[in-house]
């Protein structure tokens, strides 16, 4: 594989950049693999990469219905954070933060990781107390957290509405300075390029239409491009989890919902951080191009539409304008939607299943993008060793039966409620 470097850039400039290697190949499916990963999104590509890198398993195929990186890894708001209260989420995400910091060097691909800090705004004394508690829990897990008062928040984001007579005045906020954003497509492409270079077959335009299961063991998959035998199969399909689960006669604690995001026209730099509204669900950051990147609630009813409805967008942006009134002056450039695998406690599932050789990675709700490296790393471990790693031990499938839920937001089973 050609290394991306300043020297190669200069060298290729002399041939008008026409002689660069393809970033990954377009192989035809082989008859058999050691591991087949279904889903060529961020998590699937990362899983294949870590299978090859950490576990030396390279007879691996990624099966993707469309094109790699075309689902949620290409449709998110690129936020990376580990500001969780519960140990399972905090330790898992903080492990991921380490991988994010090293990712550009590790993948020889600039993922533009920008640790610009995230601020969760508080709008009442009670919320300040709750944030103090969460911040303390984070620090106990080695995650950086700073509780800011109103004046400190005002210094960082003076453009927010600090007037006195508003419905949700800003009391302060909880900041994780090491949180940030990254170039989402580069993450998918970087993982794909490295996985491909280590021998992983990335098979696109290949839809899974069935599974070959006998005597409680997986033997392979049936696809639109023929049958593929596999010793192990990993499901990494986010919003399509329910559809594939049905083909396996499994019913999962997952519902499929639609989440929208949008960007404004580009403007000059105004916002250095990621900021979230504390009296509803709205978050905003500014991209390197200058667009304000915004998102919030789910559409709120089961959906596979991959295209949002306007009432939700209006609701979300009303919160945004309440928080930062200048947003109302901006024109909307683009909106888009992706389908989320909403789990019943808001936390993901990375686990083995009752079928031998079948592994499950789903339930990412609002937080799939930032989990990409940690999810891939732990899922690769779970597949390679046939046992969960301590980092994803809490993300078990049977926690719903045993009552060991990880309900970070306290929403119960209705995680789609807004």
């Amino acid at each position: 594989m050609q290394k991306y470097s300043i020297f190669n850039l200069v060298k290729n400039a002399f041939s008008n950049h026409e002689n660069w290697d393809l970033a990954w190949k377009d192989p035809t499916p082989k008859e058999e693999y050691d591991v087949v990963i279904i889903g060529g999104g961020g998590h699937g590509l990362a899983t294949a990469y870590y299978l090859a890198k950490e576990h030396n398993i390279t007879k691996v195929a990624i099966i993707e219905k469309g094109w790699i990186g075309g689902g949620n890894v290409g449709r998110n708001t690129t936020i990376i954070r580990s500001n969780y209260m519960h140990d399972e989420n905090g330790l898992f995400s903080e492990f991921g933060m380490d991988l994010w910091r090293k990712m550009s060097q590790d993948l020889n691909y600039n993922v533009m990781f920008s640790p610009r800090g995230i601020i969760n705004l508080a709008h009442s004394d009670a919320q300040m107390n709750a944030y103090a508690r969460r911040g303390n829990s984070m620090r106990l897990n080695g995650i950086d957290a700073v509780l800011l008062n109103r004046e400190q928040v005002k210094e960082i984001i003076p453009m927010a509405d600090f007037s006195e007579n508003v419905r949700f005045p800003i009391f302060g906020g909880l900041m994780q300075p090491s949180a940030g954003t990254a170039r989402h497509d580069a993450v998918a492409w970087g993982y794909a390029r490295q996985a491909d270079s280590m021998g992983v077959d990335i098979i696109q335009n290949c839809e899974v239409i069935g599974f070959d299961v006998s005597a409680g063991k997986i033997n392979g998959i049936r696809t639109s491009r023929g049958n593929i035998k596999a010793k192990k199969v990993g499901l990494c399909v986010a919003g399509s989890t329910n559809i594939l689960a049905e083909k396996l006669n499994m019913t999962l604690p997952i519902e499929t919902h639609l989440l929208q995001a949008c960007v404004s026209e580009p403007v000059k730099p105004v916002l250095d951080n990621v900021v979230t509204f504390g009296a509803g669900h709205f978050y905003v950051s500014q991209s390197d191009k200058g667009e304000m990147v915004m998102g919030g609630d789910l559409d709120g009813y089961n959906s596979y539409a991959q295209r949002g409805n306007l009432p939700t967008l209006q609701h979300v942006l009303t919160e945004g304008i309440a928080m930062m009134p200048f947003l109302s002056k901006l024109k909307m450039l683009r909106t888009w939607g992706g389908i989320m695998d909403m789990s019943m406690d808001g936390s993901p599932i990375i686990d083995k299943t009752h079928i031998e050789g079948l592994y499950l990675n789903c339930g990412w709700c609002y937080g799939g993008f930032k989990a990409t490296p940690a999810s891939g790393w732990t899922f690769a471990h779970t597949i390679a060793q046939d046992r969960v790693h301590e980092l994803n031990a809490g993300y078990s499938l049977n926690r719903f039966s045993t009552g060991h839920l990880i309900d970070e937001k306290g929403l119960g089973t209705k995680t789609w409620i807004s």
Binding site: I243, T251, P253, I254, E255, T256, N302, Y304, A305, F400
Partner: protein, 89 residues
């Protein structure tokens, strides 16, 4: 924008409604031994497929009644609506 035909009030916009989830889920019967698996299926496990989906909505800014709606989860086409206690075929 969805338009939902409330069986009590007629056609209204989705802004008047709040969503209540899968309506095909049945609570295990009372006065009967209920297995853990049955509770799991009632509380947590959902089919949530692409296509026709029977679901509960509440006409929260209207008559405040719970209703059942048959909707396509990919196209959002609404086929039928029922009162909450109406059986459906």
């Amino acid at each position: 924008m969805l338009y939902i035909n409330c069986p009590h009030c007629g056609m209204r916009s989705q802004n008047e409604f709040s969503y209540g989830g899968d309506a095909s889920v049945k609570r295990p019967e009372l006065n009967k031994e209920v297995s853990d698996q049955e509770w799991d299926n009632f509380v947590y496990n959902r089919k949530s497929l692409r296509g026709k989906h029977l679901e509960l909505w509440q006409h929260i800014s209207g008559c405040r009644q719970w209703i059942k709606v048959e909707r396509d989860t990919a196209t959002h086409e609404i086929f039928r609506t029922f009162k909450a206690d109406e059986e459906f075929a």
